[in-house]
């Protein structure tokens, strides 16, 4: 007996005992991960198709086509930013207020500094958003207070600052140069410029999250914050970065809002923060962090906006429109839970077997 045991040293793996399970898991898992984005995209296509059948101008008229692509651009930017924060197991409820502040700043700059270059205004909006995000990030990362509470507070503070600053003022199209407003209607090969900007931002975020170390660390932090600390990751810095990026994108969304609608009132972005969270959840971003893609959040955003536009065409009353959006979010969460349970049961069976 001892003879067989004494020469165990350089031959590890004699007791592997779990052959061939890799491929099956990979296939199933890859399918599940891919299917989420695809599933949401399919729902989106169905919604568009049904609405078009009901009223073909929804898709087939020039205006319908433009609105279909243009309307989601603001929520796309917000969802992309929100997604980065959620993936670290936080949330940013202040993005609607941030967007309102930068939208007002945009108009204010055009009024107060005649002849200011458009690019300077855009950068100023992004910079203000980043600063507001920095405030959130510092409080969350170093204050050790849950992001939900912090950003709920800053949501009201930022909105309050905007209301105080703007007073009864309202920015109108006439206050802004036509070159700027043209950005809101400009199209390249029938695709609105603002949509191209939003999609480009989503692509850059996706690339960053996939290929940069710091991008991957956002996932790691959300997946297990304690483990992230033991790995020696710079947890506060990364969380701070996510909030700054989210704020900057909200800032850009504010500028886009000004260009798209030509007016800025005090109610800009009211409640849109929850739509951004909803878009991410619908797109398969886990609310407790660690998983999900920016593509999922983006498609979720497009679906949310498109459903809101399609339901009136389908003759569904206002009350039910909200209920449908709610059902969508609940459905997404339940689906996630069911999939997760099924997955973990499968792993358990593998281990037992």
């Amino acid at each position: 007996m001892s003879a067989t045991l004494t020469k165990s040293a350089p031959t590890p793996g004699a007791g592997g005992g779990t052959p061939g399970r890799g491929a099956a898991v990979r296939g199933a898992l890859g399918g599940a991960l891919r299917s989420r984005e695809i599933a949401v995209a399919v729902v989106l296509l169905v919604v568009v198709a049904v609405a078009t059948v009901r009223n073909d101008s929804f898709l087939l008229s020039a205006d319908g086509w433009r609105d279909l692509l243009l309307t989601p651009s603001i929520l796309l930017l917000l969802a992309a930013g929100q997604m980065m924060v959620i993936v670290t197991r936080s949330v940013d409820l202040s993005v609607g207020s941030t967007m309102a502040l930068t939208a007002y700043l945009t108009g204010r700059l055009f009024i107060d500094v005649p002849g200011i270059p458009i690019i300077v205004v855009v950068l100023a909006g992004v910079a203000l958003g980043a600063v507001l995000g920095l405030v959130n990030g510092v409080l969350v990362a170093y204050g050790q207070v849950p992001a939900l509470v912090i950003t709920l507070g800053t949501m009201y503070v930022y909105r309050g600052i905007m209301l105080t600053w703007a007073g009864s003022d309202r920015i109108n199209a006439g206050d802004m140069p036509s070159g700027f407003l043209a950005l809101g209607t400009k199209q390249v090969l029938t695709i609105p410029l603002l949509t191209i900007v939003a999609v480009a931002v989503v692509a850059v975020v996706g690339y960053y999250l996939h290929t940069a170390r710091s991008g991957r660390e956002l996932y790691a932090i959300g997946s297990d914050p304690d483990a992230a600390k033991l790995y020696g990751l710079k947890v506060p810095t990364r969380v701070l970065t996510a909030f700054v990026l989210c704020g900057a994108l909200a800032g850009l969304a504010g500028v886009v809002h000004a260009a798209r609608y030509g007016t800025v009132s005090s109610g800009v972005g009211n409640g849109i923060e929850l739509q951004a969270v909803g878009a991410a959840v619908i797109g398969g971003v886990a609310i407790f962090g660690g998983s999900g893609t920016v593509w999922g959040a983006a498609i979720g955003a497009v679906l949310l906006v498109t459903i809101n536009r399609a339901l009136p065409i389908l003759g569904i009353p206002d009350f039910w429109q909200r209920a449908v959006v709610g059902a969508l979010i609940l459905g997404a969460v339940v689906l996630d839970r069911v999939l997760a349970l099924r997955q973990s049961r499968k792993y358990d069976e593998e281990r037992e077997g």
Partner: protein, 525 residues
């Protein structure tokens, strides 16, 4: 043994040298003199009782804690790590008892997180990452898909990932904190094979374990710690498990309050054949009126889990719990309370008290239904009901409406006990009764328990502190890896007999194949 340790040609610089390293947390000295020298190409065992300071020592080396004093040298150079990233960068890898992985990320990402190979434009080179993972797994001879998420991996596989991490870091020092606690025999052997091959490459390994048969099968040298201090270092070849146990426990029992004699009556609690898959099995014991039964064993042996199952907090797969001849429904703490059980959990601040509420409210919380009239509970009723209890237990508090959070640990513990005594229980289950309580108050808690037993209460006490178990218990049940390995009478229970049963006493069946007979004979087990 044919796998001889590698013999370095020149006298090599030790990988790790620690001398008189100290660390205190507030007034508590967790480590008084940490001393250990690990040579390259050797596996060094670190053993000691619960609370001997092993984990603190490891965390200082790992950069989790900073030492208060003493010298720490790594590969001949003085070091002072301020973060885990620094120690990792220097070439130290630590595998904690609980693997620390990111469940959502792939196995490969888990291995390389924070230091992924970068290609052009600082992009993560996923192909290189995957290739290296595959190579490491091939070397380790494990069949884990590098692309799968860490979620759902067995503990053994998670540990392999941790080791793969250490290898990819090219760690010169690998510390394993009880890596085998959750492993089966085959998995342990696989881990050992990997450990030996790492040793033969000239790395230094530190192996923390309570299983002496493993220490003797794997390690070259052993360092014993006790009460936060270094005791001795010897070659494995020249020592025995008995000698190590002696070094681990060698201290006086008796400065604590001894239990007064009580008449022991009929069985109150009868547990038969309790089993919970993966946690404990074949648990059968009685607790009689007026008796204190001590549940001893190492942290993680399954003692608290047994208590929680008996009280109905956790589910169990088989077995029965009977109170005074009547079966208690499983998974129903309220049924357990109705049957006369009381449960003082280990973490009293989190599970035993509403720390922000008043003393009176806490004491009255379990009996609030009896106290309320028309579903409403008045502060007056709470005060009236809790006053006598607080007085009897000498809870030192100015007023019953003071928040529990402002009190000392000992007084908080009394409040928790008072809360349960108000239900007039027949059985008190108490988990670590004096953890975090200063020495003076400890004796008060002990006297209280002793008095309660004297009045006929049956007490099941879980304690990791040997002197407490030996001083208080009429009978000691030793739990090891989910099984009761010894039942010792007050007269039979000594530090040595309890420690032996808790560590090396009985070899669990699934471990038997790991142990070479010759080796067992050699060490006299």
């Amino acid at each position: 043994m044919s796998d001889t340790p590698s013999t370095p040609s020149a006298p090599a610089t030790p990988v790790l040298e620690m001398a008189d390293v100290r660390k205190s947390f507030g007034p508590v000295a967790a480590l008084r003199s940490g001393t250990m020298t690990v040579e390259p190409g050797s596996i060094h065992a670190l053993v000691g009782e619960n609370g001997a300071g092993k984990s603190t020592l490891v965390k200082i080396v790992a950069g989790v804690h900073r030492r208060d004093g003493g010298t720490l040298r790594f590969e001949g150079a003085d070091v002072d790590f301020t973060s885990t990233a620094e120690s990792k960068g220097a070439g130290i890898a630590v595998i904690y008892q609980e693997p620390t992985l990111f469940p959502d990320l792939s196995v490969t990402e888990n291995i390389f997180m924070g230091r992924q190979p970068l290609g052009r434009g600082r992009r993560i080179d996923r192909a290189a990452m995957l290739k290296e993972t595959t190579e490491i797994f091939e070397r380790l001879g494990v069949d884990i898909d590098p692309r799968r998420p860490a979620l759902g991996l067995s503990i053994a596989d998670q540990q392999i990932i941790e080791i793969a991490k250490a290898i990819s870091l090219d760690a010169r020092l690998l510390i394993m904190d009880e890596p085998t606690a959750a492993l089966s025999g085959v998995e342990v052997e696989r881990l050992f094979a990997v450990a030996r091959s790492l040793r033969d490459e000239g790395r230094g390994l530190v192996f923390i374990s309570h299983r002496f048969e493993e220490v003797f099968a794997l390690c070259d040298r052993v360092t014993v710690m006790r009460d936060g201090a270094y005791v001795a270092t010897t070659d494995i070849a020249t020592t025995t498990p008995d000698a190590i146990v002696e070094m681990m426990v060698g201290r006086e029992v008796g400065e604590l309050f001894p239990k007064t004699v009580a008449t022991i009556g009929e069985p109150v609690l009868e547990v038969r054949g309790l089993r919970s898959a993966g946690t404990f099995r074949d648990i059968s014991f009685d607790v009689r009126a007026g008796e204190i039964v001590g549940l001893a064993g190492l942290v993680g042996a399954g003692r608290s889990e047994i208590a929680r199952a008996v009280f109905g907090v956790d589910a169990y797969d088989a077995g029965t719990v009977t109170m005074r001849g009547k079966k208690v429904r499983p998974r129903r703490p309220r049924a357990a309370i109705a049957a006369g059980m009381a449960f003082v959990p280990e973490d009293r601040r989190k599970q035993g008290l509403v720390v922000d509420a008043s003393v009176a409210r806490n004491v009255a919380s379990v009996i609030r239904r009896q106290l309320s009239s028309l579903g409403l509970l008045t502060g007056r009723a709470e005060n009236k009901a809790s006053g006598p209890w607080a007085g009897r237990l000498e809870v030192k508090t100015n007023a019953l409406d003071m928040a529990a959070t402002t009190m000392s640990g000992g007084n908080q513990q009394k409040v928790v006990i008072a809360k349960w005594l108000a239900t007039e229980p027949q059985l008190l289950i108490i988990d670590e009764p004096t953890r975090g309580i200063d020495v003076g108050t400890k004796a008060e808690v002990h006297r209280l328990l002793s008095d309660l037993a004297g009045q006929g209460l049956a007490i099941l006490m879980i304690s990791s502190e040997l002197p407490e178990v030996l001083g208080m218990a009429d009978r000691v049940l030793v739990v090891r890896e989910g099984q009761i390995t010894a039942e010792l009478d007050r007269t039979e229970a000594t530090p040595e007999s309890v420690m032996k049963a808790a560590t090396a006493g009985a070899v669990p069946t699934e471990l038997t194949p790991v142990l070479p007979d010759a080796l067992l004979k050699e060490v006299g087990a």
